[in-house]
Symmetry: C2
Amino acid sequence: MINEVGRELPEYIEGYGQVKPFQYALDNDVVIKRKNILNTYNKSSEGKYVNSIKEVLLKANIKDGMTISFHHHLRNGDKVLNHVLQEVANMGIKDIKVAASSIFPIHKPLVKLIEDGVVTQVMANYISGPVADAISSGKLKYPAIMHTHGGRARSIESGDLNIDIAFIGAPTCDTYGNINGVQGTSACGTLGYAVADAMYANIVVAVTDNLVEYPAEYVEISQEYVDYVTTLESIGDPSGIVSGTTQITKDPIGLKIACDTGKVIEAAGFLKNGLSFQTGAGGTSLAVAHFLKKMMHEKDIKGSFASGGITGYLVDMLNEGYFRTLVDVQCFDLDAINSYKENRNHQGMSASKYGNPHNKGAVVDQLDVMILGATEIDLDFNVNVTTGSDGRIMGGSGGHSDTAAGSKLAIVVTQLIKGRIPIVKDNVTTVTTPGRSIDVLVTERGIAVNPENKGLAEKLKDAGLNVVSIKELKEMAEKIAGKPEKIEQKDDIVAIVEYRDGTVIDLVKRV
Amino acid sequence: MINEVGRELPEYIEGYGQVKPFQYALDNDVVIKRKNILNTYNKSSEGKYVNSIKEVLLKANIKDGMTISFHHHLRNGDKVLNHVLQEVANMGIKDIKVAASSIFPIHKPLVKLIEDGVVTQVMANYISGPVADAISSGKLKYPAIMHTHGGRARSIESGDLNIDIAFIGAPTCDTYGNINGVQGTSACGTLGYAVADAMYANIVVAVTDNLVEYPAEYVEISQEYVDYVTTLESIGDPSGIVSGTTQITKDPIGLKIACDTGKVIEAAGFLKNGLSFQTGAGGTSLAVAHFLKKMMHEKDIKGSFASGGITGYLVDMLNEGYFRTLVDVQCFDLDAINSYKENRNHQGMSASKYGNPHNKGAVVDQLDVMILGATEIDLDFNVNVTTGSDGRIMGGSGGHSDTAAGSKLAIVVTQLIKGRIPIVKDNVTTVTTPGRSIDVLVTERGIAVNPENKGLAEKLKDAGLNVVSIKELKEMAEKIAGKPEKIEQKDDIVAIVEYRDGTVIDLVKRV
């Protein structure tokens, strides 16, 4: 069968099940399904504290075939996933499914566990580094499942993704399972991606390196969801948890793209009081925030909120009054962590609140302007941020599809050519985000508007912006860099790309 | 059949179903069941705001036989319940089940709706005033169901109590359903009792008199659970929402009881660092806090937390460093509301976190000392706070059974004779809280210790306290006030008293 972005799909995939093909559904009526939880909790007088991960695994009756989940707020400093899975391996357990919200280069030891059959499936919203390479070359027994941030929450809440044991890396935890991310040496800020795991997993384990007396004074994940508490000497490497101070790009091409993007926002009619805005932590994305701030300052505009992964730049904008509040699923740097801890107008949110399409309304649905990246974009505006042009996994949707779908103006910002490869293609290697949820592509050589957004191209032209067709952009790029060669892919499916509603939007084949 | 507090129960009750008799279960292994939610949400571009309660009822397809829920944080100032039910009546709807966390005298108009068959069942944790009288005299078609605070959350989460439409009185709400209780003219503080309703009802409606722009800056109940937002000119009368400043009793008998209670806490070994404590808002209960504070000051003791309904007195103790944090399900006065708003060490909690016996650990399970009241107490220490000695409903468990079960030292404080009626009886009119979860009864004429708490009587005697048997207390009271006459009750069941785990602990018969 063929889905609505033109990808051919089998009806059934071993290790996954029936395939629901992606379609541009009229999603006005959403059926909200939440998992029926039935599990046994031992209310022993011993309390919840357990001496070691190994003891926890024994108490949780770990066995072959179970699904174990992790969150990625400790990012490339995370020590929890490796430690837990090594204990699982030491116990001789096989066939574990790892449901991590994201996988980073630090999770390299997972490759050996995959090779040894300890881990046979990986589910994540973003995968980079050695594990991505191992998956791309077909080492996993079953295809990886790649969710979006909101889609993962949906999948967990609905029971599509059933978690047997959730391990929550907890920068601070009290003896009865109240967790926060803002205190301790491994502080990472909000714990938004771990909330669904805590609420819906059968067994929930807090792993902390800062065990405090009951009750903890900040509580992000509450005791009524936590079965066991245990400690590691260190759950995270601070230098890997947060990036350094994020900086606006100094590259003139990036600055031009960002400046034009600001003009697009204005021309599209969004530069007004109450504006809401989200952007990434990259140099060009931050530069958009910079130009937006300048325009807001000149016109005395006060925005309502900025959302998403939050950086110090947005914290400054909050403190300077450009936004009334921040709504934060993940803190990217120390400034964001401190602000989230101290300032009540810097709110946390769960992944479900952020982007789940099957709840009663996510933050992305209230978002005006979203700034997105792209590895590739095709003539239908379908975007790839999952694989490189060589077909290897190097990322994933994260919140890309969620914010594109929810926001009123979804703008992709990118240089036209990266690493000598044109970004605009006839066909993207992998469809991460469907074209109909993208409104504009801003490059240094022109701005392409999705014709699905009726009337927008005219508005931008009226504002004197250099509007061209996406086909023209493709031709310009190919004139400079040549037509990229088609990559060779085998038939084996190494990853299934799920759209946020649980339909399959694309497959990644072995390279 | 007869339950473990000796009450005879039918196996089946019309309008209720099969009766599970109360038993002192070994509750080490708890099966946690959470409702499977399946409902349809209309993600219309119109947003969530609806012009009136009536329109909401039409959108929610209100029909005969539905269960509608309310919370009681607006207490005796609440205008939401009356307004909504009057609209329901105006539409000609019948046979409504009202699941309110508590019913107060202000809800008097409900009596007429009961008489008219608009409302045929009431479920609540506490019922006082005209509605209690109407239920006591048999006006409801089906027996009322009386929960505990924690038991109601359990009942909702498990699906035993299925709510079709939840109306959440919202002191502040934004246009997309983010609710808080700390801003606006009807501010009431935490919204702990409404959390389960919001998370598990099929349709959730926020009713506010302070509609703010998206996103609200404080969020206690989040948008992803809310279907509709509507407004009333006023949702509450501030003078009824909070009591006046709560005062310590000046009555010498109350002070003696409170002073002795302090000595009991010390003699039982709980006057030490890390102490956790809960008490009510009554004059004697507050006086216990006062004596406890004095002892803590003298011995330089720092407690961990105080919980429950929070008063200004406990806020002062927090600010003076006697407790590290407050864990608050309901603010009793303005000082508590302001503190909860401004001080992050003054935490909110849901009713489930507070006292649900079927989650992974409630706050009551971490509580050292609980100070409780009693209308009656019997020789087995069973306590009645549901009915008066005349058999009429005048209250209910609220958190009584939850805190008694969870706390390490549950102390009932009461005068031995109230209104010329002895408090200690052979048999209480209604068992609200089973005797085995009560440790001590403190009266002005002696302290009785439950023999189930082995060794405690000796500790109190060693400390020079006037320990007597509960039988002696009964005899003393009867010597002064005479043996109370047995009240006459009909056979009709007017209310079912559910213990926190959903078993039936007693029945209230028609008077």
